[in-house]
């Protein structure tokens, strides 16, 4: 099959098996299994890490009974959740109720396909890597939506509505924040973006990272944007009627999303696998861990926002800032391509600070509530 060999070589040119006859399939197999096992394995670790960390942030211990340091807590939870009864509400739309967790979970795994763990070591080096990630990530919302609607429960429907409003709003600044990076890197491929980062883009694009991080928090529904499962208002949100393994899949989805977005933040803004002394994969995992811990830190500190605050923040604050960021970055790249990195970064930071100060004069907290 000459056709497949060329495809394989085109997708990942630098790996040793690329010119072998079935190199394409071997490559798919190795990276597919690798990504899924890495993701699922790290979810177990990260769930434990989050619970321990939130505990410590709140001056508790977190899980400490099962195994040393409570390391086996997640294992115990998995066993418990697997043995739970799988309940389907009688008036639910059963087919959609069944499909929803899968629809929610699959895109999350797919997103990791374009993330390089070393130079050229990735499942598919797509030219449009970033676009692929954005496109795929929007499908998860569909899964949440299906779950909310199929459950035949007013809380889950409310939760689903909020999700849609929130995701559609925050997708815009999320995409636009990455445009600045794309402009500087000159490529949509994540592999190229990482290779371009001799200086991590967080230095060049602090405003971009700021928007990206906030928008991704909203995308993965973490505190302070966890409106879709606001326990105090919606009981548990879209997954209220789910139990057993289907619920576990949603839970898995949430954590996989958090990990994937940490990965993206690490890859796009923090230099990905680049770093001295240590092997690339270690650097990548280290950066993922740091970003995740930061997310946990925010989660354990900030309270939940109101829905109108969330929407207003996206449209009135993040979106203009993202457009401003693109504008300034484009000017630098197009007119003064020789600008030193520190000047570019400083300018960006100055714009960010000035914008926040300016906006805080205009914005009046409180105001009228918007019912969604």
């Amino acid at each position: 099959m000459p056709e497949l060999i060329t495809v394989g070589a085109a997708i990942s040119p630098n790996l040793p098996w690329s010119d072998w006859q079935f190199g394409f399939w071997i490559h798919l197999l190795i990276f597919g299994i690798g990504i899924i096992s890495l993701l699922l394995g790290s979810v177990i670790i990260f769930i434990w890490l989050e619970r321990r960390l939130v505990g410590r942030f709140q001056r508790r211990l977190g899980p400490n009974r099962a195994g040393p340091l409570g390391l086996l807590q997640s294992v115990a939870d998995v066993i418990k959740i697997l043995t739970k009864e799988d309940i389907v509400p009688s008036r639910a739309d059963k087919l959609i109720f069944w499909i929803a967790p899968i629809v929610a979970f699959t895109p999350v795994v797919l997103m990791l396909a374009v993330v390089p763990v070393a130079d050229g070591a990735l499942l598919a080096d797509l030219n449009i890597g970033i676009l692929f990630v954005i496109a795929i990530s929007s499908i998860t919302a569909l899964g949440v939506f299906m779950a909310g609607w199929a459950s035949y429960n007013k809380y889950s429907i409310l939760s689903a509505m909020r999700t849609v409003a929130q995701l559609v709003s925050y997708e815009m600044p999320l995409i636009l924040s990455m445009v600045g990076v794309v402009i500087i890197a000159g490529s949509l491929s994540l592999n190229d973006i990482v290779k371009t980062q001799t200086v991590p883009f967080i230095v060049l694009q602090p405003a971009g990272f700021f928007i990206f991080f906030i928008a991704s928090l909203a995308e993965i529904n973490r505190t302070p944007f966890d409106l879709l499962e606001a326990d105090s208002e919606l009981v548990a949100g879209y997954n209220i009627e789910y139990s057993g393994m289907k619920f576990a899949t949603f839970y898995l989805t949430e954590y996989c999303e958090a990990i994937v977005l940490s990965t993206l933040a690490a890859t796009i803004f923090l230099g990905g696998w680049q770093g001295p002394w240590l092997p690339p994969i270690v650097w990548l995992l280290l950066k993922i861990g740091i970003v995740f811990c930061f997310i946990v830190w925010i989660r354990s500190t900030l309270p939940r926002l109101r829905i109108d605050q969330v929407m207003g923040f996206a449209w009135k604050f993040l979106l203009p800032l993202a457009i401003l960021n693109i504008f300034v970055t484009s000017i630098f790249v197009a007119l003064w391509p020789e600008t030193p990195a520190w000047l570019m970064g400083l300018t960006n930071l100055a714009i960010l600070v000035a914008y926040i100060l300016f906006w805080s004069k205009l914005f009046k907290p409180g105001g009228k509530a918007v019912a969604v």
Binding site: G55, R56, F57, Q58, R59, R60, L61, N64, W297, I298, S300, T301, L302, I356, S360, K361, F363, K364, P365, G366
Partner: protein
């Protein structure tokens, strides 16, 4: 609100949570870790008084959290006797013989009784049983019928105690005992058997026994049973000189006796002290009972009123019924609850037709030819007096007349002290010191003549003390304690569950026989009934509590243990601001209770335990442990 407040709030919040990372978590990993909280915690404290604790383990069993761990050491101890044992003036170990009777060991039970008193049969039939009034079981439903159990024991006694009894070697000293009542005979018994002295007992009655013989009617204690106990004393070589009236104890000492015990009892009834009480038809209680019990013919009218509420009054009333009186009534100035007589005596008297005229007191006796008219005043109960009983107050103008043939005044007795007895007296009794010695050296006194009219068991208890003093006075050790049965070796455990069960019924002779003859009124129990009754014993006081451990980490101060405790051994202090110990772990240990006096005590409901409180809160890891 300015927007900058948001930024400030977010920044500060993030800083706070971050700083928490460096701090030690406050999570308490119980039981690996214990809380180390401040000295002044809010809450209440739990106290334990070892003096009251009898080791029934009810508190331990009642705790739903299993906070209480009680460490007990082996068998019962002398220091922490069961309430029944400590209630007994002679400290007869009722708890022990009741548990022996639960296994049907009657002979061993009698031996236990004999360790303290030489009159097991008499006490089995007529003891006033103060033990039963203190019985823990009484707090639950009804007290264990200890006296009836003892009666079962003596009825089935096979004389095991004799094989364990050791007689002392003769000392060569002579002791004279004036009065062959229970007190005198008890002293004679112990002085002869444990001291080895040669004893001579003088009495002006024809037969030994004193008030037991002449004061207690046959239907309560048949005379042959009294002889059973006295025969044991006679076998010790005690010389009885009956029908001998002693004028002067000093004369006895001159005659060669080394010591004299005066136990002449209280054989003279108190007078009513109302106008007209000198009529010959007004009898004293003991003066009425004595000829009856000595088998003499006594005439009594059809209508009899007995004044008084004690056992003597009941005996007199019931004896009058048996002598053929048709209308017997008791006049008592207080209410039924204040009557000093045993409750079953009162009930039996009522069953036999004795009428109770309570809250009434005779004020005048008018003698007429055919009858006596007793004018009585109605009374009401005022505030309690020094003895704790409510003082009766007469109601003016409430006189009523009882027309009777005889009046029996059973309002108390006093000793008749002969002229030759030149001792200091107190309230009409012979004054004695703590060692029962009178003002004359070598002359001792015990029994009713020393204490005033009291119960048999109190007389025995006094005589025991007198015997100890006399033995010491004569150069002996004064040790009259003995062990007639080997210690109980079985494993005693507290009762886990207590079923509410009333006393076993007391079998009585039918009412017609009772009211016409002097046959014994009570019938004994068979073995199964006795075992059943003995099993009602809660075994309190048979386990010596050495360590009372309260796990403060578990205790929620629900107070269930306090409710379970029938001994007031547990109590809640007033706590709150004054609780000055760490709540890590409270161990209430007997040895520790007397050590620490530094901490300010608090005991709201139990001021008498104020001294115990501070050291009850022994701190295991705390700084306060002085």
């Amino acid at each position: 609100m300015p927007f900058s407040r948001f930024g400030e709030g977010i920044t500060r919040g993030m800083a706070i949570t971050l700083s928490h990372l460096a701090k030690k978590p406050v999570t308490l990993r119980y039981p690996e870790e214990r809380l180390n909280v401040s000295r002044r915690i809010r809450g209440t404290e739990l106290g334990w008084s070892p003096d009251n604790c009898s080791g029934c383990l009810l508190c331990q069993d009642s705790c739903p959290h299993e906070c209480i761990q009680i460490e007990v050491s082996g068998n019962r101890s002398e220091e922490l006797p069961a309430p029944c044992t400590s209630a007994c003036p002679a400290n007869v170990d009722a708890a022990r013989y009741v548990s022996l009777l639960e296994e049907g060991k009657a002979s061993e039970a009698v031996a236990v009784v004999r360790e303290r008193i030489p009159f097991p049969v008499v006490c089995a039939y007529v003891c006033a049983h103060p033990c039963e009034s203190k019985c823990t079981r009484g707090d639950l439903d009804e007290p264990v019928a200890i006296r009836m159990l003892k009666r079962y024991a003596v009825d089935n006694d096979k004389g095991l105690w004799k094989s364990n009894a050791k007689n002392a070697t003769p000392s060569g000293k002579k002791v004279a005992i004036i009065g062959a009542g229970p007190a005198g005979l008890t002293a004679a018994y112990y002085l002869a058997r444990k001291g080895g002295h040669s004893i001579t007992v003088f009495d002006d009655l024809s037969q030994p026994g004193g008030m037991v013989r002449v004061g207690i009617p046959d239907y309560r204690l048949p005379k042959h049973l009294l002889d059973r106990d006295i025969d044991e004393i006679k076998q010790l070589g005690v010389i009885f000189k009956m029908n001998t009236y002693i004028e002067s104890p000093e004369q006895l000492i001159k005659d060669g006796f080394d010591a004299v015990l005066i136990s002449i009892g209280a054989h003279s009834s108190s007078r009513l002290k109302v106008p007209g009480d000198d009529d010959p038809r007004v009898l004293g209680g003991v003066e009425f009972l004595r000829p009856v019990n000595l088998g003499q013919k006594v005439e009594i009218g059809d209508r009899v009123v007995v004044v008084g509420g004690g056992n003597t009054a009941m005996d007199a009333a019931r004896t009058a019924v048996r002598l053929g009186a048709k209308d017997v009534s008791i006049v008592y100035r207080r209410s039924r609850a204040e009557m000093p007589a045993a409750h079953e005596e009162i009930e039996d008297a009522e069953t036999e037709g004795v009428k109770m005229r309570l809250l009434a007191n005779p004020s005048k006796i008018i003698s007429e030819n055919k009858s006596l008219k007793v004018e009585c005043l109605k009374m009401r109960l005022g505030p309690p007096d020094d003895s704790g009983r409510r003082r009766p107050e007469p109601i003016e103008g409430s006189e009523f007349i009882l027309e009777v043939d005889n009046v029996i005044a059973a309002i108390g007795q006093k000793p008749v002290i002969p002229e030759g007895f030149n001792f200091e007296q107190e309230w009409g009794n012979i004054k004695v010191g703590d060692d029962m010695q009178t003002s004359v050296s070598g002359v001792f006194s015990a029994g009713d003549c020393a204490t005033g009219a009291a119960t048999i068991i109190e007389g025995i208890a006094g005589a025991r003390r007198a015997a100890q003093s006399i033995d010491k006075y004569l150069g002996g050790t004064g040790d009259i304690s003995e062990s007639l049965v080997s210690d109980y070796n079985g494993q005693i455990t507290g009762k886990n569950t207590i079923f509410y069960s009333p006393r076993q019924p007391l079998p009585m002779v039918d009412i017609k026989t009772r009211t016409t003859t002097f046959h014994g009124a009570e019938l004994g129990w068979d073995e199964s009934t006795a075992k059943e009754e003995a099993s009602r014993c809660l075994k309190c006081g048979q386990l010596e509590v050495t360590r009372y451990r309260l796990d403060g980490g578990k205790c929620i101060y629900c107070g269930l243990c306090l409710e379970a405790c029938n001994f007031n051994a547990l109590f809640m202090g007033r706590g709150y601001e004054r609780t000055t110990y760490l709540l890590q772990e409270t161990i209430l240990e007997k040895e520790e209770l007397t050590v620490n006096k530094k901490i300010q005590p608090s005991a709201y409901h139990h001021p008498e335990m104020e001294n115990n409180l501070p050291a009850q809160t022994l701190l295991v890891e705390g700084k306060l442990k002085a």
